[in-house]
Subunit: 400 residues, 2 copies
Amino acid sequence: MRILVAGIDGYLGWPLAQSLAARGHHLGGCDNFARRGWVAERGSHSAIPVADMPERLRAFRSRFGHEPEFSEGDLTDYAFAAGCLRSFRPDAIVHLGQMPSAPFSMIDVEHCVYTHTNNLVGTLNLLHALRDHCPEAHLVKLGTMGEYGTPDVDIPEGFFEIKYRGRRDRLPFPRQAGSWYHQTKVHDTHNIMMACRIWGLRSTDVMQGIVFGTRADGLSDDEALRTRFDFDQCFGTVINRFCAMAVIGMPLTPFGSGGQKRGIIPLSDSMQCLAIALENPPPEGEYRVFNQFQEVFEIRELARRVQRVAGDRLGLTVEIEPLENPRTEAEQHHYRPDCDNLKALGYEPTRELDDEIETVLRDLTPFRERIESRRDLLAPDIRWDGSRPAARELVGVVGR
Amino acid sequence: MRILVAGIDGYLGWPLAQSLAARGHHLGGCDNFARRGWVAERGSHSAIPVADMPERLRAFRSRFGHEPEFSEGDLTDYAFAAGCLRSFRPDAIVHLGQMPSAPFSMIDVEHCVYTHTNNLVGTLNLLHALRDHCPEAHLVKLGTMGEYGTPDVDIPEGFFEIKYRGRRDRLPFPRQAGSWYHQTKVHDTHNIMMACRIWGLRSTDVMQGIVFGTRADGLSDDEALRTRFDFDQCFGTVINRFCAMAVIGMPLTPFGSGGQKRGIIPLSDSMQCLAIALENPPPEGEYRVFNQFQEVFEIRELARRVQRVAGDRLGLTVEIEPLENPRTEAEQHHYRPDCDNLKALGYEPTRELDDEIETVLRDLTPFRERIESRRDLLAPDIRWDGSRPAARELVGVVGR
């Protein structure tokens, strides 16, 4: 298949391109390198150094025999988005070209508005470009389990059959997201659902759990083929952040009671799931939803796992020091999401959590200095209520 | 109360300011006059001539003894939005400052993107400005019954109690909007709901049916106090458009079978409902939804009503010529939305449909020439599937 990865320079995009190339697909990619800019704006950098795109493309070619047809540009520019589709003629597009951080979107009104315009306009442009230039192509959009929030009932995959006042219907499951970033994914969900209905497009919306890890199948040790690893409060996801903290001897900081339950999935299995979605497109006009995660954990259990693996397997002493929750979220709640659609198509978890944590810890160890030098950025000072503790106060909280 | 009407220059905003002034409230207003620009972009104009803002303000003052504290500016500019709130210190804000046309949003990718950024960014700015400058103020947001789409179950007011797999919860009722414009209202719904939850704001989301009419209580005959009346395919709503067609002897054109069911409400009662919402604010942190309509009709029945009133009361002969539906929508469907919340607070319908249609027809009669001169714009050439019939073909269809 000809697959276009929008956001090919990112944490998921770069290993995904390699996983798909290893499966024999022909790759295209586009990026505006915004992720590098956002992380730099926060004063941070990837713990694992990342090569620039020309170097990445050279390494890709020497590994896979061809390099992705790469275009630099911004999906919020319709001419660019349409041009990518017209010239590459994809069978499928994986849309990863969005701002993916909840805290970043909550910084202030400018970041909230930026997240909305960047994420929504990019998708709207892609939908119109698909309609006008390759209506047969399959759009795989990366959503998030966070779109559903934490309702007091089970969470189906996108839709549910209900009986209400004696009548029945299959309806979209209500979304109750908890950050502006998550809201943009909800808005995308509604927009894509409509585009499939009125324009006959086909799309898979992947409600992804929290991804973690440093490795994916098909990724080699070539430095230019490695993917980025963010650990700052905005772009580091929870397990990755705990691992970065453990490596520099900083206490792990679950928020509040740590009783929040989240679905998680290792990077390698996220690649597997996206490949499965791509290789099994829905029929014309269908909008389908896959919940994509391996297991559900409480955040405090994840902290304990990282603590234990760091101690037992690497001899690192790591404390756990819960932090006043900077987010507004339920810390005790029902959580039983379905995850059947991907399994029905062949998804099988391949990694065990503790082993994957160990791999991350070992992969990060050579880069301790790079994390240590940005230690302050591990502490969350972006609060959902809009207030900001003084920087000094925070450093105290995280035990420096 | 001190009430800020965002979009005070519009079809609803201008009479609302007067209705509220007549009820003793102190008014503020802002507008960027975008509505005038959109209608001009479509080559149209208001059937009833509208005065410019300085003239409107003068007439307002001579009628009510004070004029609204008016600021010209764009809510997508945060500094402007925050400045309005800081200087006026409202007890409540009615947010009408949005692009309100489904067909306009469906013209092409530029109009789709514009509708999203204009409508979403304005609301996001207002939410942040409320949080930072007047968190006690009540935000009344104008939504639309179109947010719900046409599910095969009854439509509650925003939320429903459901039982699912043996557990119960009160969840937002799923939204299935049918145009980009309607989607922006759905996105606003989700954003405002979250802002109330995490910031403790208070908001009433008014899911309004299709408004029609030329008059509202408290509106005088002073020309500068009249509100606009659009009839073009983008900014004219269905009953208003039918009345404009009847006045110039053009056949009424329900789309497709005309079996689409919609809730409708006369302009005067829309004003009554908004006043009730404003005068009965919800407690801090509450996001509530009012479905706001008087009666549900099939579109073909509305055409027959206009035809009959035009014939019986004004002696006008009017044909009905259904048009191939330019929209992608269900033409036969279940439709039983609740409308209890406003009634519980005292809303009582004051107008009878036929009488209101007669008033519109009589009010438009002096302006036949202004409608006749834009006759082409009554024919819908904006199709939901993105195609466009040739202009000539269309003129044939509508029987010129």
